[in-house]
């Protein structure tokens, strides 16, 4: 059974996946921080950071720029600067598309036309699977760069309604843009002759009805603008597919690990299980599941069984009342100590019930996936958006069992 510290020490690529809202971004940043502390040159690539997290990492508003978290930032936060190096980058989808087009479009004239195409400008970020695809492109770029090479890339995947989107979305996006259908249907526009609007295959009866009907649906003019966009993209498809394959190879490499970040609650745990099974089906290496924001059991120190805790709570009720009454009397306070005691007991029992429900979910996950490692990270009672808070999360992750 390895700890997260070991994983962060040995992996070259760490991909954090999972449902949104369970601390995936903070966990990615905290793990990257640990790697840097271990002497590694580490980058954390975030997609959707809360603004304050970005600020605490020293990231500017603009994206796609790698920024180092300066040693001074650590010392100012009362922390020892890492012996390695921690850098961070915030993915900006629109900028990423522009970069990819600029870098990989083989034809300068058509490239500029693409960058200025009204659809491209408006909709490149709306293209389904765009975020996930761009994360892959960036991962490929960072993991394979020769200059100032990195020891570890920690990728915080985009929040999606289904974490599995991350694996499927890029190829879906490529397929949506580049398939027999789009080529077949848009060929008349792409090869339009001089003088006439349409030419060639459009005069086949079949495609004529089809294209005209679609034209009535979308408006012929829109179809033309879209056709131009798709035809400009066509030149890039081979590159897309080539890099997508290369990124797949990175994801499947023996030094890559997937960490599923979830929480011990029904929805996130179900998704976590689905994701682990999916990763295993793709023969990708799952390090384990982080169960964040776990509710502490107030009676954990007292005893672990429910009955004992029940008894402990009930025995404590009159004790609590008497203690509160004594304190109130001392201060001349007129509080309804019986009601207060009841509320405190109720709240503590409710919290315990939550903690126990979470423990049961974890146990069930272990039953269903016996070879899976899980790490429980207690609720830190802090918004993790400052370097000290990130460091506390780092320690909790490294110590988690």
């Amino acid at each position: 059974m390895s700890g997260l510290g070991d994983i962060v020490r040995d992996a070259r690529v760490l991909v954090a996946v999972g449902p949104g809202g369970v601390g995936k971004t903070s966990t990615s940043a905290a793990l990257a921080m640990e790697a840097a502390r271990l002497g590694r040159r580490t980058i954390v690539l975030t997609i959707d950071p809360a603004r304050r997290l970005a600020q605490s990492l020293g990231l500017p508003e603009i994206g796609n720029v790698e920024r180092a978290v300066a040693p001074e930032a650590f010392t100012r936060a009362g922390l020892a600067p890492p012996s390695g190096r921690l850098t961070a980058m915030m993915l900006d989808i629109k900028q990423s598309w522009d970069e990819v087009v600029r870098r990989h479009h083989p034809d300068p004239a058509r490239r500029d036309r693409l960058l200025n195409n009204r659809f491209y400008v408006a909709l490149s970020s709306a293209l389904a699977g765009s975020q996930e695809y761009m994360a892959m492109e960036k991962l490929h770029e960072l993991a394979s760069r020769a200059e100032d090479p990195l020891d570890l890339v920690v990728l915080d995947t985009p929040p999606s309604s289904h974490a599995i989107d991350f694996l499927e979305a890029p190829s879906k996006m490529i397929d949506a843009l580049d398939n027999d259908a789009t080529r077949w249907l848009l060929e008349p526009f792409a090869s339009r002759g001089r003088g006439g609007r349409m030419s060639g295959r459009l005069f086949d009866l079949g495609s004529s009805i089809v294209v005209r009907s679609i034209g009535r649906f979308t408006g012929l003019e829109m179809l033309e603008a879209l056709a131009e966009l798709l035809s400009c993209f066509q030149d890039m498809f081979e590159g897309f597919r080539h890099r997508a394959r290369a990124t797949q190879a990175i994801l499947a490499a023996p030094t890559t690990r997937f960490v599923v970040v979830a929480a011990p609650r029904p929805g996130p745990i179900t998704e976590a299980e689905q994701f682990v099974r999916r990763l295993e089906a793709e023969k990708l290496a799952v390090a384990g599941v982080v169960l964040n924001r776990a509710t502490p059991d107030p009676f954990a120190a007292v005893d672990t069984t429910t009955d004992a805790a029940d008894t402990a709570a009930e025995r404590a009720r009159p004790l609590l009342r008497d203690a509160l009454a004594a304190i109130a009397a001392e201060r001349g306070a007129t509080a309804d100590v019986a009601a207060l005691a009841d509320r405190l007991v109720e709240a503590a029992r409710a919290q315990q019930a939550e903690a126990q429900a979470e423990a049961r979910l974890r146990a069930r996950l272990a039953e269903r996936l016996p070879n899976l490692q899980t790490w429980r990270v207690p609720e830190l009672n802090a918004d993790v958006h400052s370097l000290p808070a990130l460091d506390a999360l780092r320690r909790a992750l490294v110590d988690a069992r």
Binding site: F119, G219, L340
Partner: protein, 341 residues
């Protein structure tokens, strides 16, 4: 929760009670076309259902539209799951579900008129591929359906629905849906789609008839996303503001004068009392965080904000009933009689 609770912390208004303000809130909750948006999981659907039911109870023929999920509204209203066409589920309350595929089919049939032609073209596998690849087309056709029902007239020439409530999909898709009409109107050179888009944009951007309500939880990301949505609303969406709603607000565990007592308890080293101190401490911490997030939302939004209580353990109609009562209380309304007056 029983026990002394400071009035300002009770579920209700985060702003100082203000009779004039209440009228403003009531007006916002009475617009012809209301959109309910927010991050996934904040209680958008239950608020939309509560709102729609309330409008119908006041005598307005109300249509509640939901995207994709066929049984969210059904669960919260205690009725049969939604279908693709408006169906009356409670007195004066109609429910309708939209899916991208369904909306596209309806629109296509409207445009093409002949079912045989539709089948030849749109059920062609290759055409399906193409349509899937046109970004935002799904959102556009769904907005088209929204517009269609919002402006539909009955045989008597009167609007078929007095009020339309759209339970928007989660943040990103909601923005796309609300922005796509203007986008298409400004982008597409001309033709049937552009004409439709202009009309749809006019509905969304109408300052008197339309508004956007933002629902959140007293948590980091939901508030951040709600405020980002609001920025879009005032910016490219050009939509009027409705109200803000913060769901799942817990009453504080301790009253102001009780904190000192519990702190003093900590000083006593009796280990049997430690669990209660620990619980009180972590509750106090969470409550302080939640209060901060609520305050950030109120400050950032500018519009009136209603806070609705945590109704743990409640689901379905019981939850809607609880929220409806809380909403009435927050507005200082007497409880309205069931059914139409």
């Amino acid at each position: 929760m029983d026990g002394p609770v400071a009035a300002a912390d009770a579920p209700g208004r985060d702003l100082v009670p203000d009779p004039a303000g209440d009228t403003d809130v009531r007006r916002r909750l009475d617009r012809r076309f209301q959109v309910v948006a927010g991050k996934g999981g904040v209680g958008r659907s239950v608020f939309a259902a509560t709102l729609a039911r309330r409008l119908a109870a006041r005598g307005h023929r109300t249509l509640l539209l939901e995207v994709n999920a066929p049984d969210s509204a059904a669960r919260f209203l205690g009725v049969e799951p939604a279908v693709d066409a408006p169906r009356e589920v409670l007195d004066g309350l109609f429910l309708c579900r939209m899916t991208p595929a369904g909306a596209m089919k309806e629109y296509a049939l409207l445009v093409l008129r002949f079912k045989a032609l539709y089948q030849l073209v749109f059920e062609n596998r290759l055409v399906k591929y193409l349509l899937r690849s046109i970004p935002s087309l799904a959102e556009f056709t769904m907005m088209g359906k929204v517009w269609y029902h919002a402006t539909e007239r009955g045989p008597d020439g009167r609007p078929r629905f007095d009020r339309v409530v759209l339970d928007a999909p989660a943040t990103g898709h909601a923005i796309t849906m609300l922005a796509v009409s203007r986008l298409v109107a400004d982008t597409v050179p001309g033709g049937p789609m552009r004409d439709a888009a202009e009309k749809m944009a006019a509905l969304v951007e109408d300052p008197n008839d339309a508004c956007l309500h933002l629902v959140t939880l007293p948590e980091e990301m939901p508030v951040t996303e709600a405020l980002e949505l609001d920025a879009q609303r005032g910016g490219r969406l050009a939509m009027a503001a409705g109200i803000g709603v913060v769901n799942r607000c817990r009453s504080p565990l301790l009253a102001a004068d009780e904190h000192a007592l519990v702190d003093a308890l900590a000083a006593s080293s009796d280990p049997r009392l430690a669990p209660f101190v620990a619980t009180a401490r972590s509750r106090a911490f969470r409550e302080a965080l939640e209060a901060e997030h609520r305050a950030r939302f109120v400050r950032g939004l500018g519009a009136p904000v209603i806070t609705l209580p945590e109704a743990s353990g409640k689901d379905g109609v019981a939850l809607t009933d609880a929220l409806a009562a809380a909403l009435d209380a927050a507005l200082g309304d007497a409880r309205t009689p069931e059914g139409r007056s």
